[in-house]
Symmetry: C2
Subunit: 498 residues, 2 copies
């Protein structure tokens, strides 16, 4: 410190340059000061990093408070299970093996109820199966004399561990019993190895099983009773959310196309409408959730045997739409753009198709969300089909449009010649992205019909409530008008901007 002070009091050296400016020479820093500065810099960087990390963690918790609740649930379950160590009667009943109850809670408690039940089931079954097998092998080894004992135990351990490890590669086992296979290996090796030393295997097995039962039942009870997070509900909501995102992207990107191009060719991609990307990447999550959901008991709208696998099919059909939307984005961000006159010819129909098809997807999202069939879905799909037909006839009219309008003063000969000339120079190349977009829109409507079919099947399998006919008769025209109005408004707005 004193050295640093000394330096501050040291005389300053200044150089006057030829051009009149002056430069102060900094005193050469001593090694202590250098090290101090370096340390301060490192520390401040470290603190900043920690601060950012904490900020990120805070926003994570603020965005989804259920995550915080889950953490508190884990803390509670662990505290409860550790009571076994503090309360004398409980401790004496399970002994030192209470450790297994703690381990079970730590390992088995998962975010969703389904995952917790699945892991508990795997743990209990794996332990029981391996325990019995281990006891059997030990008994056989014991009977066959001291010479063969280690060989029998060693080779059975090698064989069973290898076989169980291999079973974890088989997709159907991996999806459901991966953890169970691991617990099987673990328990079998512990039993067969410790059995060689400890004689009281039965007591051990009994204690271990009862502690595991305590741990798993505690986990299941806490995860089901305290703010439960059901994998099934999560999957259900994920599909609904993906449908909403897809319909927004689809409608938004077509509006942007016919709107944004007024300010000149677009070359940078549109960023805030890319919700469809979530649909592209949600396959793994959907599969995991569906796998856990099948373990869950009836809850909310869902029975025990709710057709979760059908959700995967709905998800896959949604993804096939999203692939096309992604290609549509490519077209829309293309640098070559059709002339405004032709664009405006297609604008209203394209906007109608996109808005109607996004209405269909929104209606499907409503169907799934409310778990009740829709009485309006057929009419909405019908409107989408009408819009597609209009778009197709617009496309068919395109060549006619390229001909100049016949003016009465011009003679027949001149007219025909002019039109031929104009056609020979048709900027078809410029029209390609437009035609492609229209064609992709038509393809998307086809794929949306695939989604409609999958949702229909889901509604049948899950026995969704039938559509309220009375209600629908009243509502249908209103809905239709409201929808039409909404569509027209959207189209109008976009057209105004064109």
């Amino acid at each position: 410190m004193s050295q640093a002070k000394e330096m501050n009091n040291a005389p300053q050296w200044t150089i006057k340059m030829a051009d009149g400016t002056s430069e102060t020479l900094a005193p050469r820093e001593g090694p202590v000061r250098k090290a101090w500065n370096c340390l301060v810099r490192l520390l401040s960087q470290f603190v900043l990093k920690i601060w950012r990390f904490l900020q990120k963690a805070w926003s994570l918790g603020a965005n989804d408070p259920r995550k915080v609740v889950h953490c508190l649930k884990v803390g509670t379950a662990l505290s409860v299970v550790s009571l076994f160590f503090y309360m004398r009667p409980l401790y004496e009943s399970v002994g030192k093996n209470a450790m297994w109850a703690v381990m079970t809670v730590v390992v088995v408690f998962e975010h969703t109820v389904g995952a917790t039940i699945s892991k508990s089931f795997n743990r209990v079954c794996g332990t029981i199966l391996a325990g019995f097998l281990g006891l059997g092998v030990n008994w056989v080894a014991d009977k066959s004399g001291e010479k063969f004992e280690p060989w029998i135990i060693g080779s059975s351990l090698f064989l069973l561990a290898s076989a169980a490890t291999f079973s974890r590669f088989i997709p159907s086992v991996k999806a459901r019993f991966d953890y169970g296979a691991m617990i099987f290996i673990l328990t079998f090796s512990l039993v067969s190895v410790s059995g060689y030393r400890v004689e009281e295997l039965f007591a051990l097995a009994h204690e271990r099983l009862s502690t595991i039962a305590i741990g798993t039942s505690l986990c299941i009870i806490v995860s089901m009773l305290v703010c439960p997070i059901w994998a099934g509900t999560e999957l259900h909501n994920l599909i609904v959310r993906n449908m909403d995102k897809l319909s927004c992207s689809l409608e938004g990107c077509v509006i942007e196309y016919f709107d944004g191009s007024a300010e000149g060719g677009k070359s940078e991609p549109i960023k805030n409408l890319q919700g469809y990307k979530c649909v592209l990447t949600s396959k793994a999550t959907e599969e995991t959730m569906a796998n856990f959901a099948r373990w869950e008991p009836a809850h909310g709208h869902f029975n025990f045997r709710h057709p979760w696998q059908q959700y995967l099919k709905v998800g896959a059909s949604l993804r096939s739409c999203a692939y096309c939307v992604e290609a549509l984005y490519g077209c829309i961000c293309s640098e070559t753009q059709a002339p405004e006159s032709i664009k405006s010819h297609l604008a209203s129909t394209c906007l109608r198709v996109s808005s109607q098809s996004s209405n269909v997807v929104k209606e499907l999202a409503k169907v799934i969300k409310a778990t009740s069939k829709s009485s309006t879905i057929d009419s909405v799909v019908g409107e989408m089909d009408d819009a597609v037909k209009d778009l197709q006839s617009c496309l068919a009219d395109l060549p006619k449009l390229l001909l100049p309008l016949p003016t009465p003063e011009v003679s027949g000969l001149e007219k025909a010649e002019r039109s031929a000339a104009s056609l020979a120079t048709t900027p078809l190349l410029d029209m390609v992205p437009l035609v492609t977009s229209a064609s992709l829109l038509i393809e998307i409507t086809g794929r949306i019909k695939g989604v409609v079919n999958e949702v229909d099947e889901l509604a049948d399998l899950a026995e969704f409530e039938p559509a309220d006919q009375e209600n629908s008769k009243h509502n249908q025209p209103t809905n239709k008008i409201a929808m039409q109005k909404q569509t027209e408004e959207g189209t109008q707005k976009a057209l105004e901007r064109v």
Copy 2:
């Protein structure tokens, strides 16, 4: 049994019908026979199921023998670690805690070296950190008197377990330290809970750490020395394989389009060319592999700090191509097809574009496979660009083509009129899928350039060997000719079939 026999010997009843046929009446089955038949049926079904399962498992092992090797490795590691129980001096050095070594082997041994190292690191660090914290908390609790002791221990357990559980939700922690956080909770609760009873915590910690060290080092040694499976190499090969699949799909589907349509409109999707679907779904695998690969030491062509993250970017750019290929498939399977005359006009250029672009992808696959830059990549990309330009001018020529050929006998007036009439009836609607396919092909070439850029960056970051200039000068023309020849052959074949 005797009852069943009796029944077989019982008299048979036969009825003669009016039309001359006779029918034998089956004796009414007794309950025992019924149950027996039912049991036999169930048993045979069960045996069949087991048989099919075994067949599947066998083919899994036959297709990838490394999986079998992995299982044998796990069996070996477990057998070796169980020696600690059988050999007196080893057993006495670690005592009953040898159980932890067995557990470590079961839990930590993973398919790839990177995953094993990552889990080992997590296990060791989580144990050490939680062990020290647990000792500290126990010491503080011990000093603060018997009244506060359970409260301090209980609340610290609750808080730390909750915090560690929450950290597992943070993406950066989840990707790398998920297992470590779990082990932290596990060890901390075991230490703090057992510390209340057992006084020899230091000895326990020492024993536990040494057994875990034995287990992890055994796993790492076995997984690295016996037929190692490196996550990095797997990622590397996955990307190369995906590139090959994508290029095959791209080339194959265009050939199918111009070839298959000769036999009439296609409505059912092409199945054996859908390799691109693997590209669509490989994101999760790529990310897992890249995460494990960073833990691996230098091996083969790869240094310790090989830019594995760049592989993810290459994968993402490949996927963006695959989305477009998926849309292209949709077009190609579309029911409306362009008239043959127009199709054949575009056939050769479309085939050239697809073949050149698939050549580019193949060349990129070669670059990555050989980890050496390519001297021909620029020329291949140039050829792809030329093909695209040709396709664009073909598209621009399309309207001209729709006009009938001018015949010298026809007067100017007649010619112009006829052309105008033919244009008015141009089946543009039928052409839409063709134009869309062509446009998607052009879009795909654009995205392939994105892949080229990412691979270039990878080559720079990973310091791929420079292209052999001498060799390339000799080879370039030859390569070019060979490639051109190959392309022309493919095109020729397809055209012949059209």
